[in-house]
C-alpha cells in the first residue's frame, strides 16, 4: 500500500491543474508570477528600473526616454504553448489585457503608444529597432511545437505601485482569461 501511495505522490503534481505561483529569485529577490493553465504558460518577472534604464540607454535611447521607460513598470514576460496536441494553437493579444489600479482599469502601455510619444523625439532608428524586438509582440500566435516568446511589457504605473492584471488568451479561438492579483512594480534598491 505504501508503494501505491508513493506512486500516487509521484504522479500527483503532474495531474493537478496548477494555477498562479509567486516566487522570489534567491539571487536577485525579484519576484516572478507564473500562471500555468492548461497548456498556456505565462511568467511575468520584475525588472528593476535601473536594469531597464541601462538596457535602453545602452541601445542609444536619450537619457530622459530611457528614464521614462524604466519608470513605467517594465516586466520581463515569457509566454509558452506547452501543448502536446499538435492542433492546439494559442493566440495572445495584449490589446485585450488590462490592469486595475486604485479601482480604475487602464490598458497596458503598448508599443504603439510609445511610438506615438516618440513621434517628435530624435530617437535613432537602431534604438527603435532594439525596442521593437526587445518588447513582447502585441499580438502573437504560439504553435504547439514548443513555441515560446519572451519580451518586456510596460504596464504603466510608477515604481512601488500595486495592481491587478487581467490576462486573456485563446486556445483554438476559445477565450480564456484570469486575473493575477497584487503585482508589485519594483523600486530600485
Amino acid at each position: 500500500m505504501k508503494k501505491i501511495s508513493f506512486l500516487i505522490c509521484l504522479l500527483l503534481p503532474q495531474i493537478l491543474h496548477a494555477d498562479i505561483t509567486k516566487t522570489a529569485s534567491p539571487e536577485t529577490q525579484l519576484i516572478e508570477w507564473k500562471l500555468v493553465e492548461q497548456n498556456f504558460e505565462l511568467s511575468i518577472i520584475q525588472r528593476l528600473p535601473d536594469q531597464t534604464y541601462s538596457f535602453f540607454a545602452a541601445r542609444g535611447f536619450p537619457k530622459h526616454i530611457s528614464h521614462n521607460i524604466a519608470n513605467s513598470c517594465v516586466f520581463q514576460t515569457i509566454i509558452r504553448n506547452n501543448s502536446k496536441d499538435k492542433n492546439q494553437s494559442i493566440d495572445v493579444s495584449l490589446k485585450k489585457w488590462h490592469i486595475k489600479i486604485n479601482n480604475k482599469t487602464q490598458p497596458l502601455k503598448l508599443k504603439k503608444v510609445w511610438d506615438k510619444e516618440w513621434q517628435q523625439s530624435d530617437i535613432k532608428p537602431a534604438s527603435k529597432l532594439a525596442f521593437r524586438w526587445a518588447t513582447l509582440p502585441t499580438e502573437q500566435n504560439y504553435e504547439p511545437s514548443g513555441d515560446y516568446n519572451w519580451g518586456m511589457i510596460s504596464f504603466g504605473p510608477k515604481p512601488g505601485s500595486i495592481f491587478d492584471l487581467y490576462i486573456e488568451w485563446q486556445i483554438n479561438n476559445q477565450k480564456n482569461s484570469t486575473w493575477i492579483k497584487n503585482i508589485i512594480c519594483p523600486t530600485n534598491r
Binding site: Q14, R59, N82, W133, N149
Partner: protein, 173 residues
C-alpha cells in the same frame, strides 16, 4: 500482483507520454511561402544572398546578442552546424540591429562557426514573418519556408536535424 502490474503499466505509459511531451520540435508551414530573398553582408564584409543557397536545405536563425533565449540556443546551433556542415545543409544566423564590434565581442563567449549576416537596419526582418527573437526557419531546396520555430530549440537533436536532412532526399510537396 495484478495490482502492481497495472501500476507499472500506468507508470510506463505516463513516463512515455512525458518523453513525447519533452520532444519539442518545429512547426511545419502547410502553405510553404517562398522565402523572401535578401542581400546582406557577413562579418568580413562579403555579400550573401539567399538565392546563393538554392538547391540545399537552409536553417535561418534571426537573433540578437541581448536576447536571452538566443544566447541559450546558439551553442546548440553551433553543435548542429558541426554535424551538418558536410551534409549539404546551410546554416545562417541573421543578427538584427547590431554592429560587427558587438557581435565580434559576443562570439568570444558564444562561438558561432557558421555564417553570420548583419541586418543592421532591420529591413530584412521586417519582410519575413517574424514577431519575436529568436525565430528560426527551415527553407527547402526550392526556396520555400517549410518549418518555423518561435523561441529557442535544441538544434543539435538528431530528431530535429533528421527533419532538415529529409528535405534533401524527398522534395516537400
Amino acid at each position: 500482483m495484478k495490482q502492481y502490474q497495472f501500476i507499472i503499466y500506468f507508470l510506463v505509459l505516463f513516463l512515455s507520454s512525458n518523453i513525447i511531451y519533452a520532444k519539442k520540435l518545429i512547426t511545419p508551414l502547410t502553405n510553404k511561402p517562398a522565402a523572401v530573398n535578401f542581400k546582406l553582408l557577413d562579418m568580413d564584409g562579403k555579400t550573401h544572398q539567399l538565392s546563393d543557397y538554392k538547391g540545399q536545405p537552409i536553417i535561418i536563425n534571426f537573433w540578437a546578442t541581448w536576447c536571452p533565449p538566443c544566447r541559450e540556443e546558439l551553442p546548440s546551433m553551433n553543435r548542429a552546424w558541426a554535424k551538418v556542415k558536410s551534409q549539404g545543409i546551410a546554416m545562417i544566423a541573421i543578427n538584427v540591429g547590431e554592429d560587427e564590434d558587438t557581435i565580434f565581442t559576443f562570439t568570444g563567449d558564444y562561438p558561432i562557426d557558421f555564417t553570420i549576416l548583419l541586418d543592421q537596419s532591420g529591413e530584412i526582418i521586417n519582410q519575413w514573418p517574424i514577431k519575436g527573437l529568436p525565430t528560426t526557419f527551415v527553407i527547402d531546396p526550392q526556396g520555400r519556408i517549410v518549418y518555423r520555430a518561435i523561441g529557442g530549440r535544441e538544434w543539435d537533436s538528431e530528431e530535429l536535424l533528421n527533419i532538415v536532412r529529409a528535405l534533401k532526399t524527398k522534395p516537400s510537396n
